[in-house]
């Protein structure tokens, strides 16, 4: 398999045809997409792509050409992919949910707590709907001890912020929402 060479990100007001435009340009330049993740947050389209580009000089012009193709308002970045730089927490995956009245600094408080207990966010989304805040996160934790401490810390933070907070094992949600029962954590 070809190694990844670049990371491309695009941020632009959402409209029809953005992915088609991006893919069309990448195809024309013979750049291979190895992995991507895309979402829309409050009307803004965002995408991150891991690319394999055999010809470095082709990649150099990619960001500018893509901004032009996507028209005004699009922000495109292209960086070199550096392998082996991530410091990933190995361990079990948990789902953190919190909901309640929105107040400043809540996400910051939870992020500090998770970081202090050695946890790593692998996915995080928050949504403020009027006065109500919802937080949904996937967290990798290094050990059972970290889980116990984190639960205590989160419970305290929940009391202080007035949010209902829960931290539960990822496999609970797999078991209750997927038809096939997975016996093992990596049985995906």
């Amino acid at each position: 398999m070809s190694p990844p060479s670049h990371i491309l990100t695009v941020l632009t007001p959402d409209r029809r045809g953005i992915i088609a435009t991006i893919m069309s340009l990448l195809d024309r330049k013979d750049i291979k997409v190895m992995e991507l993740s895309q979402t829309v947050v409050r009307d803004y389209f965002t995408i991150i792509l891991v690319l394999h580009c055999a010809n470095g000089s082709v990649a150099d012009a990619l960001a500018h050409e893509l901004e032009t193709a996507l028209s005004a308002g699009a922000r495109v970045t292209l960086v070199e992919y550096l392998s082996g730089r991530a410091q990933v927490t190995l361990g079990e995956r948990y789902i953190l949910t919190a909901s309640g009245d929105a107040s400043r600094g809540v996400v910051h408080a939870f992020a500090e707590i998770v970081a202090n207990r050695g946890g790593n966010f692998s996915d995080l989304s928050t949504r403020e709907d009027g006065e109500r805040l919802t937080i949904l996160a996937e967290i990798d934790l290094p050990s059972e001890d970290a889980l116990e401490q984190l639960q205590i810390d989160l419970e305290r933070a929940g009391t202080e912020t007035g949010l209902q907070v829960r931290l539960q094992h990822h496999r609970l949600f797999v078991a209750t929402n997927e038809v096939a029962f997975r016996r093992f954590a990596d049985d995906s």
Partner: protein
């Protein structure tokens, strides 16, 4: 990828609807403990219970912590003692009950079931002795439960056993007169007794089961009740009442999905625990029995679906609309 509304749906079952695993029950075969010498029989029973269930409570607590799911009761169900202790009389059987009780205390389980007899076609001398000793055996022990199987669809009803069971209930209540006969809550009379029932007082480890197996009991009515209430509220909140009118198929779908989720919680806990203990995973029993919690009743599900009134709730009007405390205990 799990959808966020599915995640919050699962969270709601624990947070708002108080879903828990009602019981983890270790089914344990004691047939290999049989001995004509009482002392040997007692020692073998204790050794097998402590040897197999010694880590049951600790491992259950670990699984509770990992998954954040409370397990209300930890229990053991053994082979019917009238079979294990074949050849022994009533006095010896009381000793067996006492040893079951101390063994259960040693491994810290809430209850131990299986001080039982299966007599739907006839009664052996030891089974007759078990009936005789039940009032004393249940009164002198705290954790021991008994199930008498007096009928089955295949064999029919053993009317002699029914008569003896009736007399035994009265005698057991008399023996516990000081506590209003509460000890009878540990005695169940069955038709068609399940071989792998995890719920007390009727749990026993039946024929055809593995040597040691983890069975799970989950309680469903409360969660199903609230899921149906939400469905009805959602349908009622729309602008077009005719379009949002619920059909029986909508209700069936909601019950199906909710029952799936509840059962899967039990399966997750059961499989994880069985793996930790090196035992087989058996079954999940989704109980429809009511608990003392308000709303945790199949009757209220039927009322939510549109049936005007279920059961004999008028009787409770005399108690100010509340179920008196002794009945709470019997219904748990």
């Amino acid at each position: 990828m799990i959808r966020s509304d599915d995640i919050f749906e699962t969270i709601r079952m624990f947070q708002d609807e108080k879903l828990d695993v009602r019981t983890v029950t270790l089914g344990l075969n004691l047939d290999d403990c049989s001995s004509p010498v009482l002392a040997q029989l007692l020692d073998k029973i204790q050794a097998k219970i402590v040897g197999t269930a010694g880590n049951l409570v600790r491992a259950t607590r670990e699984v509770e912590r990992t998954f954040g799911i409370p397990v209300t009761n930890k229990r053991i169900a053994v082979s019917p003692i009238a079979r294990v202790a074949a050849g022994h009389g009533p006095d010896a059987l009381v000793k067996v009950a006492e040893r079951l009780d101390t063994s259960a205390a040693e491994v810290d389980v809430d209850l131990i079931g299986g001080f039982s007899a299966t007599v739907e076609k006839g009664m052996t001398p030891t089974e007759a002795a078990l009936f005789t000793c039940l009032p004393e055996a249940l009164s002198v022990t705290g954790r021991v439960c008994s199930a008498l199987s007096v009928a089955s669809s295949r064999a029919g009803i053993n009317m002699d056993a029914v008569l003896r069971a009736g007399q035994t209930i009265r005698d057991t209540a008399d023996a516990d007169r000081a506590n209003d006969g509460f000890v009878c809550a540990k005695l169940v009379v069955f038709a068609n007794i399940p071989e792998d029932n995890p719920f007390m007082a009727g749990a026993a480890h039946g024929v055809g089961e593995a040597d040691a197996v983890i069975n799970i009991g989950v309680s469903g009515p409360g969660v199903v009740h609230r899921a149906l209430q939400r469905l009805i509220e959602r349908a009622g909140s729309g602008t077009n009442a005719a379009e949002n009118r619920l059909t029986l198929a909508d209700i069936a779908e909601e019950i199906k999905v909710t029952a799936f989720r509840i059962t899967r919680v039990g399966e997750l806990i059961g499989r994880e625990l069985a793996q930790k203990l090196g035992l087989s995973f058996g079954i999940v029993d989704l109980s429809l029995a009511p608990t003392p919690q308000i709303g945790d009743s199949i009757g209220e599900i039927l009322e939510t679906m549109g049936i005007a009134k279920i059961g004999e709730s008028d009787r409770f009007v005399h108690f100010g609309g509340r179920i008196p405390a002794p009945l709470h205990s019997l219904r748990n």
